[in-house]
């Protein structure tokens, strides 16, 4: 069993691929490796932010962790047990403790069920968590906990606003008393005033229930706000990871620097000076990723070595890990200190 210092979730060299079928013959014509050797640790009660452009493999990684996609190889160790080799009964026990909140609360809530039915569905599927005679009371507790009116348990999803529906999604995720909650762009579709409400709620829930979050978002300000640690993904790989302070104040990978420099800030004149880095083009297709460093086709620092030698994720400069042959502090940040 695990000791208190062990991470709650530990992912090792995880790879997940999708077959590509040729459109003419529907025959297998290769594979896209959407997650390409990802490793990280998430300590109990903490939040790991996962950022990267769309297509970088964040959702696939999350779906692999909760068992919705079979990995090609690697380990997903939850509370000391490798989920990929666990017998079915234990696996079910473990999986119950990992829940997910999705971007689009409307698409993920069955419109024909009341909120009470939506939440208690989980207890039907996983009996033994909450005894039947406690369901109604527990639903009310959960609704109150996520800031909804407990008397609205008999309402349908369409009777709630977008932000309220996301709260329903959170209540449903909490129903099975998880220890790890994966938030996949859970606040991305919300208007900023409502997004702030939901972020505060997540922070409160984490403190009250000791939850761990794997928090996926493309908004870096949001990730900075909620995360203890951050992993930056590019084309299926983690290119830089460290504490939130390390990643935001001292990023050494050119991709992280570019990503940060592109974040629009509302009062640029009041923000610390920063160098705008405009990346060329789009993220390449993961079907045929660039050789060597996958970022090299958009990197302004790329040298010959980048095309031939893949940079490993390792502590290179400072105290956190990065995967670039030429790690450097950003010019503006280095100057500001």
């Amino acid at each position: 069993m695990s000791s208190p210092t062990d991470p709650l979730l530990s992912v090792r060299d995880l790879r997940t691929s999708f077959p590509i079928r040729s459109s003419v013959l529907r025959r297998k014509a290769g594979a896209v490796q959407a997650v390409s050797g990802v490793s990280f640790d998430l300590p109990a009660g903490r939040t790991l932010g996962l950022v990267g452009e769309s297509g970088s493999g964040k959702t696939t990684l999350a779906r692999t962790v909760i068992g919705l996609e079979p990995p090609e190889s690697g380990q997903v160790v939850f509370d000391g047990q490798d989920l990929l080799t666990l017998p079915p009964a234990e696996l079910r026990q473990a999986r119950r403790q990992i829940q997910m909140i999705f971007q689009d609360p409307y698409a993920s809530l069955n419109p024909r069920l009341t909120v009470e039915q939506i939440i208690s569905e989980a207890w039907l599927i996983s009996p033994g968590v909450v005894p039947r005679d406690r369901w109604a009371a527990e639903v009310k507790d959960l609704l109150a906990r996520v800031g909804l009116n407990p008397d609205h348990a008999d309402r349908y999803p369409h009777q709630f606003s977008g932000g309220q529906r996301q709260r329903v999604g959170i209540a449903r995720a909490l129903a099975l008393r998880p220890r790890l909650v994966i938030c996949d762009e859970a606040v991305s579709a919300l208007d900023v005033s409502v997004q702030a409400q939901v972020l505060n709620l997540l922070v409160d829930l984490q403190q009250e229930l000791g939850l761990s979050f794997l928090f996926i978002a493309h908004d870096l300000s949001v990730v900075r706000h909620i995360s203890d640690e951050v992993a930056v993904m590019y084309l299926g790989k983690v290119v830089e990871t460290g504490t939130t302070a390390q990643i935001f104040a001292a990023p050494v990978h050119p991709y992280t620097q570019a990503l940060l420099s592109a974040v629009p800030v509302p009062r640029p004149w009041a923000a610390p000076p920063r160098q705008q880095i405009l990346l060329k083009g789009d993220i390449p297709s993961p079907v045929s990723p660039p050789s060597g460093c996958r970022f090299r086709t958009r990197c302004w620092k790329a040298q010959d070595r980048c095309a031939t030698e893949e940079p490993a994720l390792a502590v290179r400069l400072g105290e956190h890990s990065s995967a670039c042959h030429f790690p450097e502090l950003p010019v503006a940040a280095a100057g500001a200190r």
Partner: protein
Amino acid sequence: MDDPLLAVRDLTVRFRTRAGTVTAVDRVGFDLAEGETLAILGETGSGKSVTAQALMGLVPRPAGEVTGGRIVYAGTDLLTRPRSERRRLNGTDLAMVFQDPLSSLNPVFRVGAQIGELFRRRRGASRAEARRQAIELMDRVGIPAASRRVDDYPHQFSGGMRQRVMIAMAIALQPRVLIADEPTTALDVTVQAQVMALLAELKAEHRMAMILISHDLGVVAGVADRVMLMYAGRVVETGGLREVYETTGHPYTRGLMASIPALDGPRERLTPIKGSPPDLTRLSVSCPFQPRCDFATDVCGTERPELAPVPGRPGSHRAACHHAKEVAADVVPH
């Protein structure tokens, strides 16, 4: 002072819906000078897109209708002109870029042909000439290998490249006013930065006036000269960008600012706006923001605040709040 290029007054747009009549745009007014960029900001449903539709003459009928106001462009009130005349202005005078390029590009025609069509139909260009101009334009908006990609279909382009195609089509006939409705909302930040840089460049190059619509206070901060915040179909605050962002005169603007997590400095608990946006079918005589407002007093529930200069601020800075003075005097919490 010169007459502005575009002067909108009391623009009102209503929709008939099953739940009742919705005033999606409620007596909105603003000026836009040549070469100027105005950002229209606000959350979902505040009336930004419908304002743009009204400017372009694209309010969906019969559900929607412009029920009042004036849209004076280069001295003429467009709302008094026949449809055919307004259609002739689209592209040459007013042009628009939408959030979702896929829905506004025709999936069965090659991209080059769709751009070239503008030159053929509106400028009488030959097929060869139109193609040449399409390639030139694609190249100008930063589409790599334009002479090859001109024959590709919309689905063969990435989201960012499709948005560049849409921008190419919008600027093809060198409009004097470009309206961009959430042009980067569907894009990744790195691509968003590219597209915003492109828009800023094009604007400077053609001395275009631009109306940039966004829900993101940060996205517009690099390009807008002035901002206009909308809530429940109404303009609640307007003024110079820094004026409004630094000495906010409306509690809604202030609430939005406080809801955005910072990219630097200490991480503090966010102070969101309480509650959720109003149901537009059930607006009363009160200030529409009153149920969510920390500054509200009795008068807010009985009298609709009109847009007026924020006391103690330059005249161009206006807010629709009974307590604008107190709001502006308070330091915005960051």
